[in-house]
Symmetry: C2
Subunit: 507 residues, 2 copies
Amino acid sequence: MERKFEETLLSFKELVHKIKYYNEALAVLFWDLRTGAPKKGVPARAKVIGMLSTEAFRLSTSAEMEEFLNYFEQKDNHEQLDSIYKAVIQECRKEFDRFKKIPEDMFTEYVILTSEAESVWEEAKNTDKFSLFSPFLEKIVDFNLRFIELWGYEGNKYNTLLDYYEPGMTVDKLDRIFEQLRERIVPLVQQIKDSGKQPDDSMFFRSYFAPNKQEEFSLMILDKMGYGFDAGRLDESEHPFTIGMTPGDIRITTHYYPNNFSSALFSSIHEGGHALYEQNISSDLDGTPLSTGTSMGIHESQSRFWENIIGRSYNFWSCYYEDLKKVFPIEFEGVSLEAFYRAINKVEPSLIRVEADEVTYNLHIMIRYEIEKALINKEIIVADLPRIWKEKMKEYLGVEPKDDKEGVLQDVHWSGGSFGYFPSYTLGNIYSAQIYHAIRKQFDNLDEMIRNGELIKIKEWLGENIHKHGKLLTPTEILKSVTGEEINSSYLIEYLENKYKEIYNIK
Amino acid sequence: MERKFEETLLSFKELVHKIKYYNEALAVLFWDLRTGAPKKGVPARAKVIGMLSTEAFRLSTSAEMEEFLNYFEQKDNHEQLDSIYKAVIQECRKEFDRFKKIPEDMFTEYVILTSEAESVWEEAKNTDKFSLFSPFLEKIVDFNLRFIELWGYEGNKYNTLLDYYEPGMTVDKLDRIFEQLRERIVPLVQQIKDSGKQPDDSMFFRSYFAPNKQEEFSLMILDKMGYGFDAGRLDESEHPFTIGMTPGDIRITTHYYPNNFSSALFSSIHEGGHALYEQNISSDLDGTPLSTGTSMGIHESQSRFWENIIGRSYNFWSCYYEDLKKVFPIEFEGVSLEAFYRAINKVEPSLIRVEADEVTYNLHIMIRYEIEKALINKEIIVADLPRIWKEKMKEYLGVEPKDDKEGVLQDVHWSGGSFGYFPSYTLGNIYSAQIYHAIRKQFDNLDEMIRNGELIKIKEWLGENIHKHGKLLTPTEILKSVTGEEINSSYLIEYLENKYKEIYNIK
């Protein structure tokens, strides 16, 4: 018996590692494709990626995997597993069920549909024709409804989709969260508008900011944050991203716009936040599916924490503004620290989510959330979306898109079937403020630490309390252990009110 | 029957492609490791490489592969294959037999031995202790002898090893070749020594040659050669190399030494020559093991042709020396084209193969060849090597290493068991001169073409006559079709005599 258990565990570990190795190879191939693979090699590379993904997928859903899961889920065997492998079994079971519950034909059809939908979406966006995209979107929604039936659900059907990206998240919780945000953020945006104190950020767009100098400054900041360049690298790509192979190799990218100072820098800090998370996962989890962030929301909390709470704070720039002026002496000549701080925190309701500031950003997400929830619950139909989009933009943000291109068609996500993903962005913001609150309690001289550039202490605290656990703890467990609370949006609201009332001189 | 043939062929093609895709993924991983993968990720990456190599190896030697080979080798079936798939079957059979004829335990033991031997060699070299390495080398030679017994051999045992890297090559042929080289090159080296006309190349080492400027010039030359940057890229690595994923993605590297002008440039041209070969293989061979160079020797002929015959020619620099002086105006101030040409062609017998010039290079290879042949035929023993090495260096090159570090221990190859590989370098030189002769007959204004920078015409000729065939033709077939002859070292000898007697003013 004992002997059999040991041997079975060893074989299971081999299978788990093998899946992980495939994914690691795939990560290198993706990184390569997006950072500089020669374009003539792309079609052949796509086939290689397809083959390796299929192999990994086969292993995750194989009869062998099922046998292992059944074996280790038996009470006697389960009790003998350590806490890590208990969690590994749970994770593998989740993946296994997710795919095995869907009939193979149906899955293939869906993969084809979503890959077609992406190019249709692109055309629909470019030509501003929602009607091109809507039949595809209808089918995608319909598929997701059928998946939910197969996967099962508790309470609201949308819960099943939410749970995939943020285990434990429900419509009940999110409704309360967005309710609070709506009540306090919509008025804050209005007060900011009415204040008449719009900062001048024209200096960010006036000069030529040489990409190599932008890079130099980004590298310096990443280093100060404690990003390990012996376990990562910064490259350029069309869209910034973080990609993790193993904690020893977590790479980030940014995109340098010579006529936009702030874009590449804040992307670098944002991706740096994601990367710190992955670089500092405990080596105990190496080679398992737990060696990654616990959820999209917690991941986003790390990137937003560094980008916004640290990276757009007055204390941070008290430390680094002089260094920045050394890199761009002419470009920032005559710009005071105060003026610079206000400029990087300019709030302006706008149409495009990815360009939104810290305050209005969550309102964009709220619109997506309300629409997704209603679609999945069949309270609205796809044809209504352009109208609903415009109404909600007007109501929450006070701006109205003139077309669908800068409205409901702006984001790619739905074409790939990613329903339930958008809320992660706001969850990330909320968590980041809760974590910030917890850190403030830990370090009573936090402001001074940041002003002195002692960011490493913060990185170490995050590493010890969040990063090292990887996916071994659930998002709720992490949050509880760090903050003593469940999700609570009031910290984000207070943070935003305090910060922006001061900046906009609102009483 | 027809139906079964079609279906079996389809399944066989799938298997062949799958092996190719694994190798393509591996190539990306190797490239990444050597060009900038973060060092903390290396141990995990090695496991991924191990896993993918094992998968590819398993497929190449699987029962499934054996069945396919048996099926398609049957006369009726074989006749129905097109010429490409006839060659694919042959190639897969070769690989299959190569590995299946060795018992698995023996192969594993050998893999472990050679990987240990590499670090032992490194230590032996660093501490100048041949005695550390010799027990390993003895075992490696012994393994190779046992492999030869298993693989079988015709004539000389060493033929089997030669044939692996250069199909069709034999000791008989090589003996004649090296005999001729010895007769004419050894005296030429002596005449050069005696001429007293050593060029001054101190300007290559006197200045700081900024790596980015070196890169700029290398990129320009590669572009003129017709290297496709939409199907490749130039990066920096410790040792220069070319790595091929598919013809759409053939990457090269070089290494910039700020205090050595010529190293990175000629490495770039050399690797560019390899890369042109792989970039221009016919797409008919895509996804098959034939989509690569036909042999090490023919591959090396392409790199040497561009590096030496074109890249170190007077005509070439008549075209590009002014461009070079624009990039390094101060560094080459007062250096005439003639002086520059003589400097890049300085001949000096030296101890280290990889630093050897065009004339003395083949003498280094001759020593390796003679030693390998004698070892495999048990005419000498490993313990004799340091002494034999020194004697031969003295005899052929007139220089004698003071220790084994700069003698018999200088190269890594033997620690990995690569016997039969060294001759490829000289074969490449010989082929390159034969090909040059053929091109001269084709273009009666070749000198003028080179002086005008019309390198693309040469690249296209090579593409049409050599590159496009990939591994579909054997080295001998390629050579025959291009030159009308078999291997013939007199072209190389004449080329070297003509070129260097002029440079050294030898009557």
